[in-house]
């Protein structure tokens, strides 16, 4: 029987879908490993409200590491706090979603625990076997880990979110065990990409633009009307980000964000392997590209060979008609 400690990332007390995925995966793992406990930990300051909110999602217990020293996420202080907690709880697994924070933190936790880590798990077998993608998702590896402690990050698109229930898990407040001599990092600032649109990782529909849009201005005047008409999140290919058309956090791909919405619309994107790695698990894929040989058409359910500068505005009008019919 194995117990699981889930790191519940929060953004100013709010739990994104990516965190609820980790909770669900943690609960599933504990169940498949003999019915152990799934404990969720939330770290930061002023956590009473958020901890109570988290407690509704079906885990065994919530622990709130509430301390001013955890006010800003930093790898070294969070790794210290997580590892001390994991050891004192005697869990076998420490788990988080493979968000930017999860990717930054969990390997440090693993090394501190002298534990192996399996990154971006996409499934948990009935006996607890884990599967993860290699080669930009072109191979799936079944992996095994040895030792009393194991660290896992889960791919957010591969698991459902935990759902809130009627009962609430007990919440325990705890002081993080920290070693000040080991804390050497300073948070300076966070430059947020402000947007009223849904998050890429949460949206039901994602509309992405590629180099075919030719400029950042075109993203605004041509693509954004389609994005907003569909109530979608906006994404981009690496080429578009590299060219400076849009900020880096819109990049969808092997080394950017991995998304799997109900509908993914790729506009002016050729479909390099590395881009496909970030979206090929979307339920329905649409591609609009003037090059009929573009590799994106190999994964698209519906492909439209057309000049995007004509087709996209046409699509905005056609969608308006559907809405009002």
């Amino acid at each position: 029987m194995a117990d699981v400690l889930v790191f519940a990332e929060h953004i100013a007390g709010h739990f994104p879908k990516t965190t609820l995925v980790a909770v669900n995966a943690g609960i599933e793992l504990a169940k498949k490993r003999g019915g152990g406990k799934c404990v969720a930990v939330i770290a930061g300051e002023n956590l009473d409200g958020p901890a109570a909110e988290l407690a509704k999602y079906g885990m065994t217990k919530v622990i709130a590491l509430d301390d001013p020293k955890l006010a800003h996420y930093l790898a070294d202080v969070y790794a210290q706090a997580m590892t001390a907690l994991a050891k004192s709880l005697g869990v076998e697994y420490v788990l988080a979603t493979a968000t930017a924070m999860g990717k930054d933190l969990m390997p440090r936790v693993a090394a501190r625990l002298n534990a192996p880590m399996a990154s971006e798990i996409v499934s948990i077998g009935d006996d607890g076997t884990l599967v993860r993608p290699l080669y930009a998702g072109n191979a799936l590896a079944t992996v095994e880990m040895d030792g009393p402690l194991k660290v896992i990050s889960v791919r957010a698109t591969a698991f459902d979110s935990a759902k809130p229930g009627d009962s609430a898990a007990p919440v325990e407040k705890a002081t993080p065990e920290l070693d000040p001599a080991g804390l050497k990092m300073q948070f300076v600032s966070f430059n947020e990409t402000k947007s009223d649109r849904p998050q890429l990782t949460e949206a039901r529909i994602v509309v992405s633009g590629g180099r075919g849009l030719k400029s950042g201005e075109n993203f605004k005047t041509v693509l954004e009307p389609l994005v907003d008409e569909m109530g979608a999140a906006m994404g981009a290919s690496r080429a578009a980000v590299d060219a400076g058309f849009v900020p880096n956090d819109l990049q969808v791909g092997q080394t950017g964000k991995v998304v799997a919405p109900e509908l993914y619309v790729a506009v002016g994107i050729s479909g390099a392997i590395q881009h496909l790695a970030g979206m090929k698990d979307s339920k329905t894929i649409v591609a609009i590209n003037k090059d009929e040989e573009a590799p994106i058409f190999n994964v698209a359910d519906y492909g439209l060979v057309a000049d995007l500068f004509k087709a996209v505005p046409e699509m905005v009008e056609a969608l308006k008609k559907v809405k009002h019919s």
């Binding site: 072109n138 339920k283 699509m315």
Partner: protein, 249 residues
């Protein structure tokens, strides 16, 4: 300043991956081998830091087999000063790699370690962070900008939702993201000079590091294939099928 950069030999990103029938690995007969793209960015950044500081030492480190010399020579041709190849024939997990690197960093007395954020074959994104913890050093992952003044380092990181800036004193471990820089090509004079630069080989067993794998790959399989789609003739048709067939709008 002594900068250490790790270099991994990986299949060219454009390679079509073919999984062996017994699931034990990928077919390597037609693979073109290159420096992991994120490691190239790391080499480039190290060279720029050295150039900005007007001096220093940039050493490359690979942990692998004999043929990895090819990638190290490419890095030397870009302008690195010397290279170390830790000869290891057995598969090593990220923990073991980090331990080997920590030993080398200690022997070298490096001030800064720059590694690619992930290897594009394994996609684990662990070694840099593990190394930082083992050394007790600060870590700055997914770096898109690095500024060093004396021993004070400020790094802008690509994170979810925007760009985060953190600061710390060296020594530290930094992992590179795509937009940190654009790597230079090796020049012909650079390639000529590289032949004479030091490439030291060290057998991994001589380092006294625990290499026992704790993460093991049991088998590889192909991902489920998507059903083939179709082309539509017009925007009108597209919107129609999305509404009536796919039922997503």
């Amino acid at each position: 300043m002594k900068i250490l950069v790790s270099v991994k030999r990986v299949p060219d990103p454009a390679t079509t991956i073919r999984i062996l029938p017994d699931g034990s690995g990928i077919a390597t007969d037609n693979v073109k081998w290159v420096i992991n793209p994120f490691d190239e960015i790391a080499i480039e950044e190290a060279l720029r830091i050295k150039e900005k500081q007007g001096g220093g030492d940039v050493a490359l480190l690979s942990i692998g087999q004999q043929p990895w010399q090819e990638q190290l020579r490419t890095g030397l041709a870009m302008g690195a000063d010397r290279a170390i190849l830790v000869r290891a024939d057995q598969p090593l997990d990220s923990l073991a790699i980090a331990r080997v690197m920590a030993k080398i960093v200690g022997d070298e007395k490096s001030d800064l370690v720059i590694v690619g954020k992930q290897a594009i074959d394994d996609d684990s994104n662990q070694v840099g962070q593990m190394l930082a913890e083992m050394l007790g050093w600060p870590q700055a992952t997914f770096a898109s900008k690095i500024e060093i003044v004396g021993t004070k380092c400020t790094v802008v990181r690509e994170v979810d939702g925007g760009l985060e800036t953190i600061a710390f004193d060296l020594p530290a471990v930094i992992t590179t993201d795509l937009r940190l820089n654009e790597p230079r090509y090796a020049s012909l004079p650079g390639i000529m000079k590289a032949r004479k630069k030091e490439l030291k080989e060290i057998p991994v067993d001589s380092l006294g590091v625990d290499l026992t794998p704790k993460l093991k790959i049991k088998t590889l399989a192909a991902p489920p294939k998507r059903q083939a789609g179709r082309k539509v003739g017009s925007v009108e048709e597209l919107v129609g099928v999305l509404h009536s067939e796919a039922k997503v709008i």
